[in-house]
Amino acid sequence: MPSMTRLRLDFRRNRTRVLRRATQAAFGLFILVTSVLHYTVTSQKMASIDAYCPFGGFETLWRWASEGGKFIQMTHASNLVLALGLVAGTILAGGAFCGWVCPFGALQDLLGWIRKKLHLPEVRVPAKMDRILTYGRYVSLVGIIAATIASVKLWFAGWDPYRTLFGLGWIFEFNLAENWLAYLVALVVVGVVLFVPRAWCRYACPLGGAISLLGNLSLLRIRRVESECRGCAVCIKPCPVKIDVAHADPAVSANCIGCLECVDACPHKAALGVTLGPALPKFKFGKKESVA
C-alpha cells in the first residue's frame, strides 16, 4: 500500500490530472444518476439528460426566439441557460468545457486509458486528413442546426451517440428494431474512439464545433513564448486532441480543450502557460494546427 507521503507526492505531481478526472467524474456521475432516476423514479419530476445538454439550447434557440419562447420538444429553459453559460465560459476561458465537464469527453478519455491498458495501438490520423476531418464538426454543427430548424424537432437526438450511451435507454428500454441506428452509431463511435483519441471531439462533435468557433474570441488562451521555447516538443505528446502546441503562434489552436496537459508537460515553464490576452479573432482555416 503506498504511503501517505507517496500519495501526496503523486497528487502534487499529477494535481491537474487528478482535479480534471474528479471534475469529469462528478459531471459524468450526475448525468448517469439523472438517467437512472429518470427511468426508475415514477412519483417525482425526474428530468431526462436532454434537459442538461447545452447543445439543446443551440438547437432550440431559433424556435424560442422566433416563436415567442416556444421550445423544441425535449428541450427546456435549462438548455438555453446552459448554452448561455457555455458561451460566456468559452469567451472567457476557451474550450475547457470539453476537457473538464463534458461526460462524453470523459468517456473518450476513459476509452483512451483502456486502449493503453490493453496495449492496443493508437491510430494516428495523417496531418492533412486530420485537418480536413476537423471541418466535420462545423458541417455537423450547421447541418444539425439547419435540420432541427426545418423539422422543428431534435433531428439529431435519434442517433446522437452521447444521448444513446448516457441516456441509458439501451439498458432500460432496449429496442433493437426501433433504435438500431442509434446503437450502431454509438458502437461505431466507441470503436473509432478506442483507437483514435477523442475522435468524436476532433471530427464530429457539433457542440465542439461551436466551442471551437467561440474559442477564437476567448480571453484566456494557452500561449507559447517563442523566445523561451527550446523546441523540445514534449508538450505535443500528452495533448488528447493532438494540437501542435510546439508550434503555437503564439496562442494554441481554438480546438484546445483546456486540459492543461501540455502546460504541465513543458519542462521550461516560462515557455508555455495560460495567459490573459486580447480577444482578437485569429481564424486559421486551412493552416496546419495538428500533429495527428
Binding site: 434537459a51 420538444q73 427546456h76 465537464v101 500561449r223 495560460v274
Partner: protein
C-alpha cells in the same frame, strides 16, 4: 497589448463558474426548468401531437389529452381491464411485453388519423411518429 500570464487553473475555473453560475442565477430567478411535465405538445394545426406522449404520462392522461377513449386505449395496447388507469407509459413495457411509449405514440397517431379503430384489436403497427 501583451498577454499576461495567469494561474492555469483559471481556465477551467472560469468555465465552471460561468456554467454553474448561469444555473444558479436561473434557479434564483425562477427560470430554470428541466421538464415539460404538464405541457402538451401540439402540432402545426394546434392539435395535441402524439409524438409528445411521454414516459411519465398515465393511461388516463393520454386518454384525456389526445381524446382517445380509455377503453380504446386498453384495446390498442392489449391491456387487461385490471391494469390501473394511473399506469405510467414507461411502466407499460414491464407489464405488457412488446408495448412501449413508442407503440402508444404510433397507436394514438393511427387512431387520430383513422387508420386504426378498436375493432381492429391490439395495435400492431410499430412505426413511431416521432
Amino acid at each position: 497589448m501583451k498577454a499576461m500570464r495567469v494561474n492555469k487553473y483559471l481556465m477551467p475555473l472560469l468555465v465552471l463558474v460561468a456554467l454553474l453560475g448561469s444555473v444558479f442565477v436561473a434557479k434564483a430567478s425562477g427560470t430554470w426548468k428541466t421538464s415539460g411535465r404538464g405541457e402538451v405538445i401540439v402540432d402545426e394545426s394546434g392539435r395535441p401531437d402524439p409524438a409528445g406522449i411521454k414516459g411519465w404520462m398515465t393511461l388516463e392522461g393520454v386518454s384525456e389529452t389526445y381524446g382517445v377513449p380509455l377503453d380504446a386505449l386498453y384495446v390498442m395496447i392489449g391491456a387487461a381491464p385490471e391494469v390501473p388507469a394511473g399506469t405510467e407509459m414507461k411502466m407499460l413495457e414491464g407489464l405488457l411485453p412488446g408495448t412501449s411509449v413508442s407503440t402508444v405514440r404510433a397507436g394514438v397517431a393511427a387512431y387520430l388519423d383513422g387508420s386504426w379503430t378498436p375493432a381492429d384489436g391490439k395495435y400492431e403497427g410499430g412505426e413511431s411518429h416521432e
